[in-house]
């Protein structure tokens, strides 16, 4: 069976020729959940943008990215428009900038729904309400009429998730979707993403700098540093027995944080 996403020897360069990602190769099978982990600036987010042909102006990608049978690198805008949404959709880190501040939330979700399912009018309104209910938002009718600034960070991120899911993508790319949220909201959000993708047998590429978060929602993990893949493998294997020094350092620091909490554990 061919993979849903096949990235081979991906290199991303800036306009001045500096390589930000070099020779990256990985794949995501249908329904598989991959974690991309690494510190800020390691090229994780750029990689996810390259997957949809959405690199910022001036940046160029070389190598091969095949998403759902379509070669993304060098593809025309028309080809890209066809595969985006259906092939993959993104949830971004910052929920405030991911939503248009001047457009009611309902309309923003309606856009992809209308295009994907061809529904209009009352049926579209119903579909929007369902989409909001699916991400566990209370009172969907009220939320649909709200502007983004009238919602809390957690609610906004759920709306962004609903928008991405409205495209019914084969691959959901989550780019640090919980980083900007409160810790308690983070956990809910992770559970929600986990449940929803399992329900739909959707593949996920989960980008994070937080090993604990990635371990919770993915099967396989790819560790990146300075634009290179450092290590990849089953998430449990990697956490239990990291082979590379950098991965080991990541795991150790995650454990240290946890044991710092454990030392208070007895008091509870």
């Amino acid at each position: 069976m061919s993979a849903l996403l096949e990235v081979r020897d991906l290199t991303i360069r800036t306009g001045t020729g500096r390589a930000l990602v070099t020779g990256l190769t990985f794949s995501v099978a249908r329904g598989e959940r991959l974690g991309l982990i690494g510190e800020s600036g390691s090229g994780k987010s750029l990689t996810t943008l390259a997957v949809l042909g959405l690199l910022p102006d001036g940046m160029t990608a070389s190598g091969s990215v095949v998403l759902d049978g379509t070669q993304i690198i060098g593809a025309s805008e028309k080809t890209l428009a066809g595969v985006r949404g259906r092939g993959a959709a993104i949830v971004f880190q910052e929920p405030l900038t991911a939503l248009d501040p001047l457009m009611r939330v309902g309309r923003q979700i309606a856009e992809p729904l209308r295009r994907r399912r061809g529904v209009t009018g009352a049926a579209l309104r119903r579909a929007v309400a369902e989409a909001l209910e699916r991400v566990r938002l209370p009172d969907p009718a009220r939320i649909a009429r709200a502007f983004p600034h009238e919602l809390s960070g957690g609610q906004r991120q759920r709306v962004a998730l609903a928008m991405a899911l409205a495209c019914d993508p084969a691959l959901l790319i989550a780019d640090e979707p919980t980083t900007a949220l409160d810790v308690t909201v983070q956990a809910e959000m992770l559970d929600l993403v986990d449940t929803l993708v399992r329900e739909r047998d959707m593949a996920v590429a989960f980008v994070s700098h937080d090993l604990a978060v990635v371990a919770r929602v993915t099967d396989r993990v790819l560790v990146m540093k300075d634009g290179h893949a450092v290590e990849s493998g089953d998430v449990h294997e990697v956490v239990r027995a990291p082979r590379e020094a950098y991965t080991k350092a990541l795991v150790d620091s995650a454990r240290q944080l946890e044991s710092a909490l454990d030392s208070f554990g007895g008091a509870q």
Partner: protein, 274 residues
Amino acid sequence: MKRRSPTLWTGAVLAGLVVLLALVSLVWLPYDPADTSGGRLAGPGDGHLLGTDKLGRDLFTQLMTGSRIALEAGLGSVLIAALIGVTLGVLAAYAQGWFDDTLSALLDILIAFPTLLLAMLIVAARSATLGSAILAIGLAQSAVVARLTRILVKRVLAQDYITAARTSGTSWPRITAGHVLPNIWPTLVVNLALQFGLAVLAEAGLSYLGLGAPPPNASWGRMLQEAQATFTTAPAGALAPGVLLVLLVIGVNLIADGLRDVLDPTTRRGRAAA
């Protein structure tokens, strides 16, 4: 408009005064604009509210028709500036590489090019009419509007919600109409209001130099020029159009200021978060 802005209201009243004069002038004027029966440089009173000019024409009548010309100049120029400027600005923002560079260079040249020289060229090619003046002012302003639009659009295009819209396969025309234009609109409309005031001033300037509406059309600028020689003996002729010009421009600028308060999405967001 739910929020009251005192600035906006003050501005609306001041500019509204001029609009009222212009509207009334369409249906009623105290004298025929060409009526020279008033006696030369008569003082205020005696049937002439503000007196007469050196040809014996009623000043208040000229002020009223002049307000129409001032508003036409402002509206016409801003319309031209908005149409050309926003179109070019959006195109330049979407374009990358040489097209963007070329367009930006052209806009910089046009901005550096004196409006007066542009107006003289257009007047030479056509003739000295209000239309020529409006065209010249509109073209000069379109460069400013285009440059602002380009920057505003670029800033919106860098936002995640544009990437999100592209991710779901939304076409560029839909993104432009649905996301880009609504988001640059508040800033743009404030700038256009300011441009309106500048256009009114520019038209008065061009008319003063004889490059605007030709006689007997009473542009405020031309009234100022005609009254210049007799300013010490009959100051009303220069003061009246001058005062109205100031009122209109201040009014429009206050409206622009008020619109900024009312339309700015960041202040709106700030209020909601508080």
